[in-house]
């Protein structure tokens, strides 16, 4: 279905050619930066060809059940799924309903930065941190600067495509509503914003690679990724707080800037629009100066550091690993949950594998970290609301059901289980003498529940219980049962081949988006139903708990016995 919309092989090839033609226009600029342009173009071209060739999963026919895995020749899954982002971004057009230009562009740029940073970190870090290129290209007469420029360009092609799609509706809207000048400004600033995201990410990696060594380095890379995500969410929250609804019914808002908002750089991007409509002011001037200064600074930093990123990349490959020990937590939960000894084997296997794979962490940990930000954000906003309406934080429904947000990471987590850096080792799963799909999946599900979902859920629950009272406990226990059930079903739906048997790949970045949206709709309805029963029917929570417990127990003991996994 999606494939037809975007045409066949021929068109995709033209698409790649299109990017090469565009880059060619910038050849003099590349040369000025000391890049060997023809070689760089060659590398980018080859990278795009390789991306379009990876195996990919595109849901055909129905969203549920029969997902067919196909090796599509010469089509890039990334571009094929962009339309969905465009669709979501259309919703942003509602911004223009609120007649306050700072508000419109504050929200707009927060959205752009969040989307770009999260995609960059989770999906394109693998390109930036790829060590194979050093061995295969770095050993040829190609300078680090050229190779680095090629990688940056490669990622930027994806990033700018994504930017066009997510910012397109609003930028076009700007031309219509605020005139040509503002429109042009929006175009320039949006492109600048996506460059900022890319350069900030690259510079973060370059700094970390330069400063650290060995095993520590690998961990710090993961922390820096989490750090960027956390920073993004925090910035978003600060920007939200800068906006005050003066009169909610009239949708009237006011930007309430404090001196410390000066550090929130997405706000700098709003200032030029302010000047256009409200005229000159000192605040705007300072922000614009910061914006220009920041851009020039980033360009300089990139110029002086880009080759160092490449030069230090080999560090990621070398040095011996830590000695891996199972933690007491892993041992105890394993013994408690896995009664079958094969299942326990898979439990430890999944636990240790996901502990060591940088790619797994890169994909997943930023979203997990974002979950921890929710308490802060929610407490903050609810507190402000309750100040206005009276009552306490613990009364807010959003706050009380906060642990349920753990549901949000489930689709991502389930998909991540398909991949592994050492995907070729999956032959070993075929060596087993009996059918083991059931124990395998149960082992993995239990490991991931205990390793990732339970700790997060527990922390969120404790926060909620501290602010409210113990009467919420049944609802919170129900929530974890729901998480267990939903995660099991999602794994069953997603994992059709053996887990950890596919290769990570950039063009699959936003794979399965539509299925995920449908997933959330169904979850939303189900969760709504549960809330209703819990609040309206006496002892409803306990009735539901009984039902959920039975379902969860069944899933975790017998659930996947009829499931079969394919090798290829």
């Amino acid at each position: 279905m999606m494939r037809n919309v975007f045409g066949g092989d021929q068109k995709q090839k033209e698409g790649d050619q299109f990017f090469i033609k565009v880059i060619r226009k910038f050849a003099p600029l590349y040369r000025r930066f000391g890049v060997d342009y023809p070689i760089m173009e060659r590398i980018v071209d080859m990278k795009l060809i390789m991306d379009s060739r990876q195996e990919k999963v595109i849901p055909t026919n129905s969203m549920w059940g029969s997902q067919k895995e196909k090796e599509n020749e010469d089509k890039n899954a990334f571009f094929q799924s962009l339309w969905l982002y465009g669709f979501i971004s259309l919703l942003l057009l509602f911004l223009f309903v609120i007649d306050n230009i700072q508000f419109q562009y504050t929200i707009f740029f927060s959205y752009v930065f969040i989307m770009l940073f999260s995609t960059l970190i989770a999906n394109f870090s693998t390109i930036l941190l790829e060590t194979k290129d050093q061995i295969l290209i770095g050993t040829k007469p190609v300078s680090s600067r050229t190779l680095s420029a090629a990688k940056t360009t490669h990622v930027f092609i994806y990033l700018i495509s994504l930017t066009v799609v997510i910012a397109g509706p609003v930028v076009i809207g700007t031309f219509v509503i605020h005139g040509i000048l503002a429109g042009l400004l929006a175009v320039i600033l949006t492109v600048t914003a996506s460059l900022w995201c890319l350069l900030l990410t690259i510079l973060t990696y370059a700094t970390v690679l330069k400063r650290f060594n060995g095993e520590k380095l690998k961990n710090i890379i993961a922390y820096s990724q989490i750090g960027i995500s956390v920073f993004t969410v925090m910035a978003y929250q600060i920007m939200n707080q800068a906006i005050q609804f003066i009169n909610p019914s009239m949708l009237e808002v006011q930007l309430n800037l404090q001196w410390w908002h000066i550090f929130v750089f997405p706000l700098w991007f709003v200032a030029p629009f302010g000047i256009i409509t409200n005229g000159f002011s000192l605040t705007y001037l300072v922000y614009i100066l910061l914006l220009v200064g920041g851009s020039v600074g980033l360009a300089f930093l990139y110029y002086f550091n880009s080759d160092k990123l490449e030069a230090n990349l080999q560090k990621l490959e070398s040095g011996e690993g830590d000695t891996d020990k199972r933690s007491w937590y892993e041992n105890v939960t394993g013994k408690l949950l896995c009664w079958d000894k094969n299942e326990l084997g898979y439990y430890h296997f999944a636990w240790q594998l996901t502990k060591n794979e940088r790619e797994f962490k890169t994909r997943l940990y930023p979203s997990l970290a974002a979950l921890f930000i929710f308490p802060i954000v929610l407490i903050g906003t609810t507190y402000r609301l309750t100040l206005e309406t009276g009552g306490s934080v613990g009364d807010s429904v959003f706050f009380r059901y906060m642990p349920y947000y753990a549901l949000l990471v489930i689709p991502m987590l389930a998909v991540s289980l398909k991949y592994s850096k050492n995907y070729k080792a999956h032959w070993i799963f075929g060596m087993k003498s009996e059918d083991h799909a059931g124990v395998f999946l149960r082992g993995i599900i239990k490991a991931m529940l205990m390793k990732l979902l339970f700790p997060i859920y527990l922390i969120l629950s404790v926060v909620v219980l501290v602010f409210s009272d113990l009467s919420l406990l049944p609802a919170i226990i129900n929530g974890f049962l729901v998480v267990t059930i939903v995660f099991s079903l999602q794994v069953k739906r997603t994992i059709q081949q053996y887990p950890f048997s596919k290769r990570y790949n950039a063009s699959e970045a936003n794979q399965g988006c539509l299925a995920t949206i449908i997933f959330f709709m169904i979850i939303g309805v189900a969760a709504g139903g549960i809330f209703a029963i819990q609040t309206l029917i006496p002892f409803g929570a306990y009735i539901i708990m009984a039902i959920l417990a039975v379902v969860a127990t069944w899933l975790l003991t017998k659930g996947f016995n009829n499931h079969s996994l394919s090798m290829e």
Partner: protein
Amino acid sequence: MDKILEMREVTKSFGGNNVLKGVNFAVYPGEIIGYIGPNGAGKSTTVKMILGLLQQDSGEIMIFGESLSGMGDTYKGRIGYVPENAELYDTLSAEEYLLFVGRLYGLEEEVIRRKSFAMMKILGIEAAYQNRLSSFSKGMRQKVLIISSLLHNPDILFWDEPLNGLDANSVQIIKEILSELKNDGKTVFYSSHIMDTVEKLSDRIIILNEGRVVADGHFDELQKEADGTLEQLFNQLTGFNEYEELASAFVSAMKGEITYDA
């Protein structure tokens, strides 16, 4: 004759692990050097440093008569490199991969195509010219890498275990190719674990153990220090002589007769 490559007191450590503890040797044009040592002795690290993928902590590396530090990347155009583990871009076809590599060396597509097809034909894998590398066997991948390292007619070859995965006939051809290249004045620096081949093929053998060069010379010279084959010499120099006891202990462990003490 002038040295084409020289290592002077080169050290390298990763974290707290000293991989190279002062490596010294020199290579002259037209030599075939067998660079051997146990796993983890630092062979690949040495080669990666010469290719500029890693920087040494101290010491100096001289190549083509110049110091490597601050030299730029053009010298790599005179080097042919075969990496360990047969790493390739799997999603490309052999043709595309070779065209890509050739272009990085600044060759014309026409020339690359002619050369690479001819070389693949001689090695008997021309039928797979347009197939994806992911479908290649280990030996075929090795052949593609060997061809890709020769496309630009380099002066010195760094081959990390070039015979890995090749069948006996192919090993024979590659050995002959190496002698032929030597006659042509090329320098070959390779590593291998097949002692028999190293013994017969190399003009000089450099043995690396625990981050130091423990032997350097022609096999005949080395033999003066210890009689027997290169394998025996290797075992002796790397302090390994208990293989019989280890083998029987291994088999009893397999049967569960030894208690595992961690």
